[in-house]
Symmetry: C2
Subunit: 305 residues, 2 copies
């Protein structure tokens, strides 16, 4: 069997793929627009083309292909059961369709789980077997690694960490809850708080970040509020898991200097386990490649089972 | 090796022990006052006497002895590192001292973890591999079973579920946090809420329960408030773990009819995973014996590793 695999990060904007060795060396990388608006068949064709390109240039069949997908996956059947960002993929039997077209074993995984796995394999979690990862983007995703593997729950719905309650009567969430972490600590939450602070119409999270960096106190308060919500959630995760490592990934992590002090103070206050242990809370190290590494690791991990 | 083990539940009031077969049949049970106020040496002597009594009547050496302890345990060293209810046991090397005196392998475990394990072995969790258990007593303890074994965390401090934040600016907790679950959903919390409702001086949780059962609206509100806090926490646990089963144990569970409707409504509202799955939230089935069964299971579980 080949000693390399192909990881695919099926993002809402870009479809990225890479050939990687079993030791975690990225050999070759390709990125194309996902083309979500053109429909599922086009996206699948893009994926097949990209994989075939990598396979041709590697000159041999890969051990397998791992695909990180922004949605829920029925692992047993290999079916994407729901995806907010990829309309048309609901109930798509991705594993079998792709493996039929590519002639190689396919492993599907939720994208935040894949990111957590990538960090465990080649990122900030290389030296631990247990970690929790939060992806801070438009929403907040989560991945939990326990004993080196993804914790899936009995229906593959585990680690919906963005929907943990941090403010019991907080902002409403599409999931039906109020005060979900992702409504108080995502790029969207930053934008809505900036609006509430009267900072301007329709500012992006990046613009709020720039204002705060330039010394705007109201914008700084927005990131402090985000830090407090993150800290509240992470303190509970520490009290629940007592894992050695908690990682933050995603675009909003660039604002670390603005939200981390409030976040860490909140964790310090709310978790005696944190105060009495060497628990690490850090930025993920592989940047936007965490999920790509995790996807490429999937075929090797499966082989070891 | 013998086909029976001895489980010990080292409670603050009673020290209970039982001989059980590897199939989970309780063969013989003994209970004596723990004697905490007489000091550690007396407690240890009680434990040794009780175990020897069971061993003599069984006529053979047990496979091992499991001991459920109300405190933190350094599993690697077999040392009780802290216990609020058992002064004098801090830094007691229980595993080695007991195994020296009894000549049999000893396995220590936190009492709430043991209760979770007991329910998995012979109680409500027999048919699942993953569950979360909350013990509702003076405080709130927790135990997490994943793939049939206790989740310990890297320092044995996992599952401090009573210290998850449910009310960000809620009641202060000795752990340093505010709004811990155990300050809003334990017997002590029921008593303090009854006081706030002007129901009388120094009522016990049982008396508040009796008032509520007799139709007292204020006392009923106390249990509804407890249910809302429990539901908030359990909804987050479901969103985190996606386990099939969440169990409530401990004395306060007798008030189930008074708090469960509010609890279940809150979970329904706060967890889309709950609404979209057959997730069970139930009372533990082994009553005050959950921890005793779990303790007796420990030597068999260890053997299988």
């Amino acid at each position: 069997m080949a000693d390399y695999s192909i990881g695919v990060d099926l993002g809402g904007t870009n479809l990225r793929a890479a050939a990687m060795t079993a030791e975690g060396t990225l050999v070759e990388q390709v990125s194309v627009p996902t083309g979500v608006s053109s429909g599922r068949e086009v996206v699948v064709n893009h994926l097949v083309d990209v994989v075939n390109k990598l396979r041709t240039s590697q000159g041999q069949v890969p051990a397998g292909i791992g695909v990180g997908v922004p949605g829920f996956i029925d692992l047993e059947r290999g079916v994407i059961t729901g995806s907010a960002n990829m309309p048309g993929f609901e109930n798509f039997p991705g594993r079998d369709e792709l493996s039929n077209r590519l002639g190689v074993p396919i492993v599907l995984e939720n994208d935040a789980n894949a990111a957590a796995l990538g960090e465990k394999w080649m990122g900030a979690g290389r030296d631990v077997d247990d970690l929790v990862l939060l992806t801070l983007g438009t929403g907040v995703g989560g991945g939990i690694i326990h004993r080196g593997a993804v914790m899936h729950g009995f229906l593959g719905m585990a680690a919906e960490l963005g929907h943990v309650t941090v403010v019991p009567n907080g902002n409403p969430c599409g999931c039906g809850n109020h005060g979900c972490l992702e409504k108080h600590a995502s790029a969207t939450a930053v934008e809505s708080m900036a609006h509430l602070m009267g900072l301007g119409e329709a500012l992006t999270a990046k613009q709020v970040f720039d204002l705060a960096s330039q010394g705007n106190k109201l914008a700084q308060q927005v990131f402090e509020s985000m830090g407090i919500s993150l800290g509240t959630a992470i303190a509970s995760f520490i009290n629940i898991f007592n894992f050695p490592l908690y990682l933050l990934a995603g675009g909003v992590v660039d604002a670390w200097p603005l939200f981390a002090p409030a976040m860490l103070a909140e964790v310090e206050r709310r978790s005696f386990t944190y105060r009495n242990s060497k628990t690490r809370i850090e930025k993920a190290r592989l940047g936007k490649d965490s999920g790509l590494y995790g996807a490429a690791y999937l075929p090797f991990l499966n082989r070891a089972y």
